[in-house]
């Protein structure tokens, strides 16, 4: 850009300079000068001719004034011509002044010429008449008068010729002599004599005037002034020429510079052109490569397109098919894939000719809408009826970015099979659902049974303890004591007083009563436990019953209490397995609303699992951590048991997954499900086998009331 600007500027400046120099060097004065010279020459001619004519007249060579008059006219014309056509030299004051002088001189010369003509004609006439009359008088007079007249004639001629004063005096004397002669004035020749004298006087009067006119005419410096004017204009002209020559040299110099500049530029241009050519070739090569790539990719895409079962075609803005894949070509009517690029839109909009299409107009509308850029893509379903079957197509119309390759892509895929498959899948799904329901019911039953089983275990333990206790009850001793007393009922007092056995009776009874009391207390405790457990079983059952209808009753309780409850439920087995319990309860654990029994169930499960995991290790220990995390309360059950391998971690909450021989894989699954239902979560963590495991139950402090599916499972 800059380069272009610089070149343009240089060329423009050079051009301006050249034009300026050319104008400066233009020869605007040569023609004017030649014209001027011609006029000057014509003036000189006329001037010279005028002089010649006057002299010719004076010498008597000429006999009329036509020639002189002609030259006068010529001179006048030349003067006027010159005056009016000074041309470019008119501005020069010197030239102007000279021209004015010349004009004045010329006019004066013409006046002199006119005067000369007037006086010359009279002088000539008088001279002629003078001679004629003198000759006549000579002939008619005697010698005396004749000599007088001869004298007059010769004096007159001499005066006419010379014009000297002496001759004039002599002429006048001769006139006086004639006037003094009376004989000459005799009547018969008085008129002639007096005419002779009048002509003589006319000669004296006008001869010198004529001569004066002639001399001043010849001496008028028209020629000299003309020469001066010529000289001056010539100098001006040559100054002009020199200046023009200077401009011409400048013109040539600038032209050469410009030429050199052009040569340099041409060299550069050549160089650039070479470079350009090289890069062009390279570019062409690259373009060829690209073209090949493009061709390859086109083939590739064409192949890909052709391999697609869907029928794909590309339409231009009028709806003409400009590209189509093999499926399209194969399936669509051949009349729409011809070379004439038939209009697909028309095809769609003309169902009467293509009765196989049921709703072509819908497709046509879609294509039109996409073509008009009303929307970027469109889709519709198309039903076509073929001889053997009815097909359903899904047609996608996609707008292409602005390109020459087309406007929209119409992809038509046969979805008949898919629809059939979908229907089948729906059927399958329904069946699956039924199966799932049954499975769910089984799962629920299993969950209930499992939970109840767990509790029943405790009940069983308690009942066994009760039976053992009852079996070892001191009641039998009491019965024996009572039998003894019964047997001694008549001599009770002696018995007590004298019999040794009776002597022991009070202490025995005291002992017995205390034992019984102790036993009674213990049994009561056990019964309470059993009752509690039975109550729990009842809760479980009722909870599962209520699953069908609604969630378990929400109670606001302290999670720590719940943990304690859970521990208590597992107390017996924990004690049996000698598992140490570490309680790590946070200080600010809030009271939260929850479904007590479900959470308890989860915790029982977790603790039981922890116990089972830890039981096989020495110094088994279960750590229970309750803490608060933002809006959640977390309860962690950490054991130092066998741990969970990583690949198990991922599916530990899956239904049916278990590592226990007698497990059913339901506990953790249902626990996790329950936790999710509360709005909380259950997660497991383990560093690996033998490192123990941590199960973390998170419970929301503000559980959201979740709509539960009321459908019975």
């Amino acid at each position: 850009m800059n380069r272009l600007l610089i070149h343009s500027a240089v060329l423009a400046i050079a051009l301006i300079v050249l034009i300026g120099l050319f104008i400066g060097s233009t020869d605007n004065s040569s023609r004017a000068y030649s014209e001027f010279e011609r006029r000057i020459r014509s003036l000189e001619h006329a001037n010279l001719n005028l002089d010649s004519s006057v002299l010719a007249l004076r010498l008597g060579i000429q006999h009329n004034y036509d020639q002189l008059t002609f030259h006068e006219t010529e001179l006048q014309n030349s003067l006027n011509d010159l005056e009016a056509n000074l041309g470019i030299w008119h501005e020069n004051p010197g030239v102007n002044q000279l021209a004015t002088i010349l004009q004045k001189l010329g006019e004066s010369k013409l006046t002199q010429s006119s005067d000369f003509k007037a006086s010359h004609s009279i002088v000539k006439n008088s001279l002629a008449a003078f001679s004629t009359i003198a000759r006549r008088l000579q002939n008619s007079n005697n010698d005396e008068q004749k000599s007088l007249i001869t004298d007059l004639e010769s004096c007159g001629l001499r005066f006419y010729t010379s014009g000297y004063n002496v001759d004039e005096l002599a002429f006048r004397n001769a006139i006086d002599a004639i006037m003094a002669d009376e004989a000459l004035f005799a009547d018969h020749q008085k008129r002639s004599t007096s005419l002779l004298l009048r002509h003589s006087y006319k000669l004296i009067e006008l001869r010198n005037d004529m001569q004066q006119s002639l001399q001043s005419l010849v001496q008028t410096t028209v020629r000299q002034t003309t020469e001066q004017l010529k000289e001056r204009v010539s100098i001006l002209y040559h100054h002009n020429r020199e200046r023009q020559a200077g401009y011409r040299i400048g013109l040539i110099a600038v032209s050469l510079l410009l030429f050199a500049y052009c040569v340099v530029q041409a060299f550069w241009v050549y160089k650039y052109a070479r470079a350009l050519q090289n890069s062009n070739q390279e570019l062409e090569k690259r373009v060829e490569e690209r073209t090949a790539d493009l061709r390859d990719s086109k083939e590739f895409f064409q192949t890909v397109l052709d391999s697609i079962h869907a029928q794909v075609c590309v339409l231009d803005e009028t709806g003409n098919i400009i590209e189509a894949n093999a499926a399209f070509k194969r399936i669509e009517s051949p009349s729409h894939t011809g070379d004439a690029s038939p209009n697909y839109l028309e095809y769609c909009n003309a169902p009467e000719q293509n009765q196989s299409i049921a709703n072509g107009k819908v497709l046509g509308k879609e294509i039109r809408a996409v073509l008009n850029a009303d929307k970027p893509y469109g889709t519709c379903e198309l039903n076509e009826f073929h001889i053997e079957e009815s097909r359903t197509y899904q047609v996608n119309v996609t707008r292409l970015p602005e390109s020459s390759l087309g406007r929209v892509v119409v992809a038509k895929s046969n979805i008949t099979d898919r629809i059939v498959a979908e229907k089948e899948r729906e059927q399958l799904h329904k069946e699956l659902q039924d199966a799932a329901r049954q499975a769910g019911m089984a799962e629920v039953a299993a969950g209930v049974l499992h939970n109840v089983g767990n509790v029943l275990n405790s009940v069983n333990v308690s009942s066994t303890v009760l039976r053992d206790r009852i079996d070892s009850s001191p009641v039998k001793q009491l019965v024996r004591a009572a039998d003894v007393i019964q047997g001694q009922s008549d001599q009770l007092s002696e018995f007590f007083a004298s019999d040794p056995r009776g002597e022991h009776f009070p202490s025995l009874l005291t002992q017995l009563s205390s034992n019984l009391d102790e036993e009674n207390k213990y049994l009561a405790e056990e019964v309470t436990t059993i009752a509690k457990n039975i109550d729990h079983i009842k809760e479980i059952v009722s909870m599962h019953q209520s699953f069908v209808k609604k969630r378990g009753v929400m109670e606001t309780i302290n999670p720590i209490d719940l943990v304690e409850d859970a521990l208590r439920i597992n107390e017996a087995s924990l004690n049996r397995h000698q598992v140490a319990i570490v309680r790590n309860y946070g200080s600010s654990v809030p009271v939260i609303p929850m479904a007590r029994h479900e959470v308890l169930q989860i915790l029982v499960n977790l603790i039981k699992n922890a116990k089972q995991a830890a039981a096989e290790t020495s110094e088994a220990c279960i750590q229970l951590i309750v803490s608060r995390e933002d809006d959640f309360v977390t309860i962690e059950v950490r054991d130092n048991g066998i741990g969970i391998p990583e690949h198990h971690l991922q599916k530990i909450f899956c239904y049916g997954f278990t590592t226990k021989d007698d497990g059913n894989g339901f506990g953790l699954h249902s626990s996790a499900n329950a936790a999710r239902e509360f709005g909380g979560s259950l997660s497991a963590h383990s560093e690996g086998e033998g490192t123990g495991a941590t199960f973390k139950l998170r419970l929301p402090t503000k559980p959201e009331t979740k709509e539960v599916d009321a459908t019975p499972v």
Binding site: R41, N64, D66, S78, A118, I122, L195
Partner: protein, 402 residues
């Protein structure tokens, strides 16, 4: 050698040296011009073929240095150079047309009077247009007076009145000069106040007692004439303009040369063309000195002369008006009472005579002239002879002038 060279150049030129030399030759001119074929280069050779006199040569080629001394031969070599470089396209004519030169040749004769020749080089279209305008009364204010009103061809190109009569019957102060041969006069009007016919033509149009109009009016009136406008356009390729009107009229007037007079035939050698009385009248005409002023082709018209050389004609005429003559124009005392010497061609037709039309008959005019100008009294026979001679000067008035 130099002179031969000059002739060599001149023989190549259109200008014949033979045509110029007898005319201007005596005495030999200081310089001569030569012109190359076609008039392309015009060389002032006057200083060239006298190389030894030290005159500087002013070249007209522009190529040569201004004050360079040039040998005649060198010019020959340099001329083509000059042509090649073409620095100065020189003048295209010598200033003298062949016609003019031939007229000179014709006047080199012992006779004071030369025969008239047909005018040459006039554009016929202009002559025709000029004639139309010459007869066109619209040139006057009230459309009553045309040029031809006063310059009646049937009355010798004048009006036959003592002084001119213009529009509304107004009477002028001067006798109407004839239009015939007027182009041969050195000036127009009695006092010669204008030089050319063109200048003269506009005079009467503006003169309030002659035509009393002006150019604006005239052009306005003429432009309404479509035919005339068309004629102007075909002749001048221009609309009607005052200078063109004048040019056309002047061109027409230049064509009014009355050739074929008996006397011209006599001059050309036909002794029987005029009666013997006229021949003796011609001799008398020369003898008594009439030819002092009345000479040349037009028998006058080429000079101004005092009216009353030998006697004063003024006081004895009671109606004399404005007799100052050319003094009115030049205001030189020498020009007091000077008038243009009128041509005597067709003088028989142009009575009354003199600037104020004071004289009714030719005989009286002859007598008055002899008396006032020559101081002589003529006998009746002499007057008759002179009259016969003057009548032989009447040339042919062509029918297409009418």
């Amino acid at each position: 050698m130099s002179y031969g060279f000059a002739l060599l150049l001149q023989s190549a030129s259109e200008v014949s040296a033979q045509a110029i030399c007898p005319q201007i030759a005596l005495p030999l001119p200081q310089s001569l011009d030569a012109m190359l074929i076609g008039g392309w280069v015009y060389v002032d050779l006057g200083t060239v073929w006298m190389p030894d006199n030290g005159l500087k040569y002013q070249n007209s080629l522009g190529l040569l240095l201004p004050t360079q001394r040039i040998q005649g031969l060198t010019v020959l070599f340099l001329l083509p150079l000059g042509l090649i470089f073409g620095c100065t396209p020189a003048a295209t004519d010598s200033g003298l047309s062949l016609q003019q030169q031939s007229r000179f040749v014709a006047t080199v004769t012992k006779q004071p009077i030369a025969p008239l020749t047909e005018p040459m080089g006039l554009t016929q279209a202009k002559v025709a247009l000029g004639k139309v305008l010459f007869y066109d009364a619209r040139l006057s204010h009230d459309n009553s007076v045309s040029c031809a009103s006063c310059h009646d061809m049937n009355k010798g190109g004048a009006d036959g009145l003592r002084t001119a009569v213009g529009i509304g019957g107004q009477v002028g102060q001067k006798n109407t000069p004839t239009v015939l041969n007027s182009s041969l006069s050195l000036a127009q009007f009695w006092d010669g106040r204008v030089r050319t016919l063109e200048e003269q033509a506009s005079g009467p149009i503006h003169n309030p007692i002659e035509m009393g109009s002006d150019w604006e009016e005239v052009v306005h009136k003429l432009k309404r004439d479509a035919k005339l406008v068309a004629q102007f356009h075909s002749t001048y390729r221009s609309s009607i303009k005052p200078e063109l009107i004048v040019d056309a009229i002047a061109t027409f007037e230049r064509s009014l040369i009355t050739t074929d007079s008996p006397f011209d035939h006599y001059l050309r050698g036909d002794e029987s063309a005029i009666p013997p009385q006229a021949i003796s009248g011609y001799a008398l005409f020369r003898e008594i000195g009439c030819t002092s002023c009345h000479q040349g082709r037009a028998v006058g018209g080429n000079m101004f002369q005092k009216f009353g050389v030998m006697a004063t004609p003024l006081s004895d005429h009671p109606d004399a008006v404005s007799d100052e003559g050319r003094f009115v124009v030049t205001e030189r005392t020498e020009d007091m009472h000077r008038y243009k010497v009128p041509s005597l061609r067709n003088v028989d037709l142009t009575a009354p005579y003199f600037h104020d039309g004071r004289t009714e008959t030719l005989a009286d005019a002859i007598r008055e002239m002899a008396l006032y100008q020559l101081g002589t009294e003529l006998s009746d026979t002499e007057v008759q002879e002179l009259e016969m001679f003057l009548k032989s000067l009447t040339g042919k008035i062509k029918s297409d002038w009418l």
